[in-house]
């Protein structure tokens, strides 16, 4: 398919500055740089030292140009802070993410509510360089720092009846101006869900960082889901609750516009969104006069998840 051979690509094209740092014990370097630049504006869920003290397994390059950190942190859909792409970067600092607790409930043998730092104790972090395809037909390549969803879920021992996982974003209108908006049609809090076998797939991760740093608030600090073979809205941000269920949970966009957004929301160039063609995408970085259009790939190019959907009509379960 369209995967270019590594030899076709200049190293400078695929190896941004921060990756060099990864290979040179990048955590210490990058945090020192961030501190030096005074970039600590957003509140951190976890102490700065938390990431610094951890080893992060460097990610595999995917042979595609990385999206710049400025694009990935300045162009976001996070309607809790407004509907413009620039709103989250402007207003997400109003959200206080320290302290942060996450509740795990439902079909688990050992439910619990605990502080994020305790919850993540002993979990190894790794970097994952993933494509992120938004349902609005733009896409990015982002180096996340996180760990497989399964690792966390297993700690709470899902029961045999657990078939789905429901995730919930923080609901705090006093700090999230989009939730106070009179003109929002969204029924807060934001909800998302996965089938348990999807959540347990090794590609599905919880991210706590990106570009070698803790997640900025506008990208879903302090902990978010990243499911790279699904449209971006599935990758719910700033998670406060994880509930294992027997029945398919509600997900916000499906609830709002069932004809436009499904529960599965797998990236699929053959099923158009009523308002956009999904056959291609604008990959960032893009330029004004030479837009970087690329064809969209089934499952966003992550063919290894296809087995999860064998026998399903993906035009019906979109």
């Amino acid at each position: 398919m369209l995967i270019r051979r590594p030899s076709d690509i200049k190293p400078s094209e695929i190896t941004p500055e921060y990756v060099y740092r990864t290979r040179r014990r990048f955590m210490r370097d990058s945090l020192a740089v961030a501190a030096g630049a005074g970039a600590g504006a957003s509140a951190l869920a976890l102490p700065d030292s938390w990431l610094e003290e951890r080893r992060v397994e460097p990610g595999e390059p995917i042979g595609e140009q990385m999206t710049s950190e400025a694009n990935a942190t300045g162009y976001n859909n996070f309607y809790e802070f407004g509907t413009d792409k620039e709103d989250p970067a402007k207003y997400a600092h109003e959200m206080n993410v320290d302290p942060w607790t996450v509740e795990v409930s439902g079909e688990v043998a050992e439910p619990g509510k605990m502080g994020l730092e305790d919850m993540l104790a002993g979990i190894d972090l790794e970097e994952r360089i993933y494509r992120l395809r938004c349902v609005e037909a733009w896409s990015m390549v982002i180096p996340w720092i996180g760990f497989p969803v399964k690792k966390l879920l297993d700690r709470f021992k899902p029961t045999a009846d657990a078939k789905y996982v429901e995730f919930k974003t923080l609901h705090r209108p006093s700090e999230m101006r989009g939730q106070r908006s009179l003109f929002s049609s969204i029924d807060w809090p934001y909800l998302e869900g996965l089938r348990l076998d999807e959540a347990n797939h090794p590609l599905a991760i919880f991210a706590v960082g990106m570009y070698g740093k803790l997640l900025p608030n506008q990208n879903g600090a302090p902990i978010r889901l990243v499911v790279p073979w699904k449209y971006g809205f599935k990758s719910i941000k700033s998670i406060v609750s994880i509930r294992l269920t027997r029945r398919q949970p509600v997900n916000t966009w499906n609830d709002l516009q069932p004809r436009e957004y499904g529960f599965y929301a797998n990236v699929n160039p053959n099923v158009d969104h009523p308002r956009w063609s999904q056959a291609r995408e604008r990959r960032f970085p893009t330029t004004l006069f030479r837009p970087n259009y690329i064809p969209t790939r089934m499952f966003n190019g992550y063919d290894e998840v296809a087995a999860l959907y064998s026998g399903m009509d993906l035009a019906r379960f979109y």
Binding site: T83, W138, R275, L288, F289
Partner: protein, 225 residues
Amino acid sequence: MDRGGVAGGSKFVLMSLPPVIAACSKPLVFCLLAVPLALLGVDVWREAVAPGSALGADPGEAVVHHLGSWGLRILLVTLAVSPASRVFRQPRLIRFRRMIGLWAFTYVVLHFVAYLSLLAGFDVINVLVDDVYKRPYITVGFTALVLLIPLAATSTRGWQRRLGRRWRTLHRLVYPAAIAAWVHLLWLSKGGFMDPFVYGLVLLFLFGERIAYSVRRRRAVSDDR
């Protein structure tokens, strides 16, 4: 009703302005309406020199969005001219209407051209078949553009004279065009509806004033009899 440029009784604001400013008012309004385009031009220039410097992560989308929202705003300003001339008793305001309307049309056309080139890559067949036909928000936006074309084409005094009474009838197309433009905005919004709400309110007010005016006028006529 108001007749362009003919009515003379501008007693208040315009007459009380210093003659120099009054004489310059048309070029002033012209320049004012060009400001959003000029600002965009600066950003496009900066973007061309240093990609990523001025228009954010998705520059094509930003340009299309900027032109579209100014097109709608200026279209609403055009529709506000005759109500304003009545409410503020300034019949001479009407002489700005053609220019404002043509500016609205300019922004709308540039909006479409930017969409066609920057977003659709001049893929005309795909755009016409796939977008205009299949996607209702584009269908309705395209309709607004098409409705405005005859209005821009017949905006000259010559056409006004040639068409006589029919000119006014033809130019009532601006009402469905404005509604279509508003529906275009409504249907492309997702999740947040502040913009459609505000513009819708303005549109309602402008239509409401016209209806109230024509009711009043009809009453006045029937009272005379």
